[in-house]
Symmetry: C2
Subunit: 431 residues, 2 copies
Amino acid sequence: MIDETHALSRQSWVASANGHPLYPIQNLPLGIFSTETKDQRIGVAIGEKILDLRALAEAGLVDDRWLGALSQPTLNDWFAHGADEARALRRLLSDLLSSEAQRPQVESHLVDAVDATMHLPARIGDYTDFYVGIHHATNVGKQFRPDQPLLPNYKYVPIGYHGRASSVRVSGGPVIRPKGQRKPPNADTPDYGPSRRLDYELELGIWIGRGNELGQPIPIAEARGHIAGYCLLNDWSARDLQAWEYQPLGPFLAKNFLTSVSPWVVTPDALAPFMRAMPPRPEGDPDPLPYLRDPDAGTAALGIQIEAVLVTERMRQQGFPPLVLSEGEAAAAMYWSAAQIVTHHASNGCNLQPGDLIGTGTLSTASPSGLGSLLEISQGGKTPIAIGTGETRSFLEDGDELTLAARCVAPGAVPIGFGHVTGRVLPVVDA
Amino acid sequence: MIDETHALSRQSWVASANGHPLYPIQNLPLGIFSTETKDQRIGVAIGEKILDLRALAEAGLVDDRWLGALSQPTLNDWFAHGADEARALRRLLSDLLSSEAQRPQVESHLVDAVDATMHLPARIGDYTDFYVGIHHATNVGKQFRPDQPLLPNYKYVPIGYHGRASSVRVSGGPVIRPKGQRKPPNADTPDYGPSRRLDYELELGIWIGRGNELGQPIPIAEARGHIAGYCLLNDWSARDLQAWEYQPLGPFLAKNFLTSVSPWVVTPDALAPFMRAMPPRPEGDPDPLPYLRDPDAGTAALGIQIEAVLVTERMRQQGFPPLVLSEGEAAAAMYWSAAQIVTHHASNGCNLQPGDLIGTGTLSTASPSGLGSLLEISQGGKTPIAIGTGETRSFLEDGDELTLAARCVAPGAVPIGFGHVTGRVLPVVDA
């Protein structure tokens, strides 16, 4: 729903918010932060500041019924409040941060974002990764099955699998190169050692809000109401481990050593001005089965510009600007919408819980400049890319820093952003 | 380690424990229970009684350092204490429950097991299912690839994949038949409806005790110290959903609608008298890679007798005894040991946490009487089994009750048991 909280004319008395590329008053993403004097709590990004929601609640400035959830060190309890209350909070925050009359009682609850440490938004009960980026699925499928890149189920089933919740981390921590079993094509037997084909995957993450009971599917018309927000997600991948281990039960150790997310949860309400119609399915593709037919398909596609950039150790030393590896748009990459993902996930009665995290899968576009992983960019290592320093890359090397970022831009709307998720590769640990 | 807590001569003053088929004083499994007057807490099964560990701790009868962990409503914090303290608690409990002198101060903390409701032993951070039952993997593989039942990685990699933590439930709850996409071989397109091929899988569950830090593998010699105990696990499976969805990323909705576990955690110390040498690998099989070479392979195989029994609605009405579908021994089914599973899981730095649950995968033996799933028993539905009532079964029907049980028997040891995990199939919910 697009309302006065999105108005182009709405400005904040937090001066740095006005014209801020990521966090103008039209965004208001939620996150978990701490500072030297504040323990872990919920905050809202506004320009270069963070508004301390626990302090705001304790000062009696929010609905009393929210005090408990907004005083927690994670967003799980707040997510459980559901979409209507999330919208009510957004309106309240928008009013408090735009009204000069409210400024005196709110201003003392702001902290400087540079002084804050960000944490995971929620205690993640379960993390699931999907595979809805059809160009990615096609590109990867071609490397294994040139004659049949997409399997017969792809256009009926939003393909997904369970990932590891314990190793999801917020942006900024180390990326320790994993060890594992690798069997190069020309070797007879595998050995165990550091991955030689470490990769990133450019994804969006979906944070689940209100959950469903075990045994109770979520009808597609209600799926949106179960989404608390979105983040960027890097599904770090060890391609050599993956190639050797993944049959017949899917990726496992190739993925579960680390998954990184951006710290701020951008709400569906903040994204409303940027939602678009799902791209028409190509001629000949089947219609979604009835349980996946989205009555709101006209506003189901995420108009989010996403990119991945690389800085190598040598680039850093020589002062090179980040190299853009991929740039594209989520809407152009996703064969299934977020609502379809949620409904499919619960279609067998599987219970989703507040704070669950769902990855979209790698979001590559049809363009060579929009490939969301090095596996695709280097065609499995066959076409390394050149870097200005004279280096080349097929996969990530120790010291490489990989950063994902996202922005939303649309006519008549104030642009907003996601902030980034970044990580630098460290050499393997010898245990 | 086999010590005085296993002595044949050791008896309890809890009369029902002596000669109890499951919970003699030589077992002492941990679980979470509640009664009408006691909220959820840790207990120990002893004969037909449960000893309230929180009450025992609050009465000052255990080490002060354990009071916090033993007062929790789940076992997670206790599991984090690790194997040495678990052994010390076992010795203490064995003494308290065998010494008449201690009886007066302990007896008031016993409750009747029939009055207790059992709960999940732990808050499960992550649930992983393995595939180490080599006969199961072979039987299932044959149905898909008659010429190559086992893939080339099987004898090098303990194959596993992530499952769903939120839908793991303790024994006894309903098994709601899941809906999902099914595409029979003769159909052109899939449709969405109730699974027609609902199955069970006979597995053991491994409860993780002490965890490891992200990025720090667990050496094989230390893996045992990370296991808090074992349970029975039924990995309910919808075979029609599985066949259609599982490529290329593995089983998902076919499994995550429900996983059931037995309530009592049988500790590695209780199992010590029943551990045996890993069966020799068949001639020609590769040795495990060095990181999986277990220095304690001589006592790594689980000498646990496991079985699955069925009672249909009509059997119940006509008073038929349960039909044994499968019986065998874990040691004869597992190609990889529990320690190898744990070490492999963490070999890329993946962090395991106290209370994580790991399934072994279906434990079928080489015998036709030891097949751990209906998929194997009915050969994918081609050879339905006859039931005394005149019914047949290829897969589970509504009203069927499926129960797994396990016992350990060895010369010179008092037999112990796991208790069971059971569930009755209910018709699909129409949402």
